[in-house]
Symmetry: C2
Subunit: 324 residues, 2 copies
């Protein structure tokens, strides 16, 4: 069997995760990593080429996995690369998804390509489960909790404060809120009641810790609406105990069938590394895109359009025999 | 919009659950319930007709939901009805699925129909999750636990014992086993270590309770390989406390990405009524079958072939905008 030829565009945490995930999937091979940096400055376990040379790989890569960020990389790269390749990306700016979908859809359709946008775990697996759960239990209510995990955006916000050398923020679901949801009580929560924000901060020498704590806790949008804990720690402790990028979360729907019969569906993740897990989702989605493209499908799609069997390297016969 | 016209074949607990589920889905209408009994003896909230008249409904029903049992009903009805209608069933004799698939596939294909077999929650949602989880985390191990819930087969086995008037058996996952799995320890379990069997028995007056308990606990295949508890209760207690048909379970996969990074995915259900929930799954699957059939798909399919978006009454645009 011919292997599925994969290219990685962007070689940060996500791109590195994709490289490692491909090594776990013997039906795939990694053709090259594409970077904006000088290729010779990038150490990877495969060929590294400059993004300027992407067009040279038409016909040599089956699916490009776009590993750039949603703020500035993907809005440009998504539509541009959908003109040349089948693509998969993790575009996650929720409010901009419909517009992004349209742009990528046009680029991909016009050029006979297929592009899966906004995959990963949220958007991605969580979205998939929200649709699944509501379809089964139309009379009900679902809840999404995130964490315990590192929020990159909130960590960045802390690091921008004067006197802060390093900072890391964990989003933590409130356990009692989770329990109320699981009990089917259909609670209404304020923002504060669903998640805590726990911050670890390394301060510059002589910095005013009280002022830093106050600035964090009152920061609008990021922290002001939450119960926020601030812990000052040493640089060594930061390195020793907060080097990872764990994350996770819960999608829970409770609903009723028949005459007031309670039903609950829950999907949850506990991730040692957010980018490595997201990368693993992107990789198996790459397999599905390859297969759907071979069936002649073109344009933009989302996880809602993918039959789960296409994610697996196993044959339909084997899946029916051993997984049903 | 034209409503999707549904027929129910078989009016036991599952068929009744389907009737109630359709009432929660305004894009569907129930055309009739088909029974082997005298139609006038069956009380339903819709038209009741005899199964002998099914052929009269060709062109009047979009999707038939087959609500018979896997032991004797579906092996006959599945292929026979796939010749006349698009169908959905919950065939759950795992070992016989490939053969059943082939038969239904031939009947449906030859007649331009589409048949979804073996849906529900296991097989069904659990199967779907096993494939999803393994596709994302190829290096890992997954576990399925069932319960706490009523096993119909085991309850029947108890009731066949001499001196037993009524009996109900709950399958209960062993909490410590679940915890080991969640911790990513990749444990190997004996049958006994994964599930307990708890039996509630109403004995005939004067029956030898010791002998009944012994017969239950040593019954091969059903109980001998498990830690089994037997509780004798009164008929009133049975009615008051054990009238429901709850069930549920867990699919958990732990795996590793990158260099030994732990990842965990979990899907679980807590069901007040097993047949009502299974019915709700069948109903949204009926919607997907209707849509796929309109796209021209024929033959037999499983949950592995269904894009999740097709289960929802909402449009692709709305799903992308509000659920991604």
């Amino acid at each position: 069997m011919d292997k599925i030829r994969i290219g990685i565009v962007g070689y940060g945490n996500l791109g590195k995760g994709v490289e490692m995930a491909i090594a776990q999937n013997p039906d795939m091979e990694l053709v090259a990593v594409f970077t904006r940096r000088a290729p010779e400055s990038v150490e990877a376990g495969c060929k590294v080429d400059h993004m300027d040379n992407l067009a040279d790989y038409k016909g040599k890569v089956d699916v490009m996995l776009l590993c750039g960020g949603s703020a500035t990389d993907l809005p440009e790269q998504g539509p541009a690369l959908a003109k040349m390749f089948h693509t998969v990306d993790s575009f996650d700016t929720h409010a901009k998804i419909p517009g992004y979908f349209s742009e990528v859809d046009k680029a991909a359709s016009d050029n006979g390509n297929l592009s899966l946008i906004s995959t990963g775990w949220d958007p991605g697996l969580f979205s998939w489960n929200r649709v699944l759960m509501e379809s089964i239990l139309p009379e009900g209510k679902d809840y999404t909790f995130w964490g315990k995990g590192v929020s990159q955006g909130h960590s960045d916000a802390i690091r921008r404060i004067n006197g802060v050398k390093d900072g890391k923020q964990y989003t933590v679901p409130v356990e009692s809120a989770l329990e109320q949801v699981r009990a089917g009580l259909n609670p209404e929560f304020t923002t504060r009641e669903k998640h805590l924000r726990i911050c670890y901060v390394v301060a510059e020498e002589g910095a005013d810790l009280g002022r830093i704590e106050e600035e964090i806790k009152t920061m609008p949008n990021y922290f002001a609406d939450y119960d926020t804990e601030v812990h000052f720690i040493s640089e060594d402790t930061m390195k020793a105990e907060h080097a990872g990028i764990p994350h996770g979360g819960f999608v829970i729907r409770t609903g009723k069938t028949g005459v007031e019969t309670k039903q609950k569906i829950e999907f949850n993740l506990e991730l040692g590394s957010n980018p490595e897990f997201t990368a693993s989702v992107l990789v198996c989605c790459g397999r599905a895109v390859h297969r759907l493209a071979r069936q002649g499908k073109t344009g933009a799609i989302t996880v809602f359009d993918i039959p789960v069997g296409l994610l697996s390297p196993k044959s339909p016969e084997e899946l029916r025999k051993n997984y049903l």
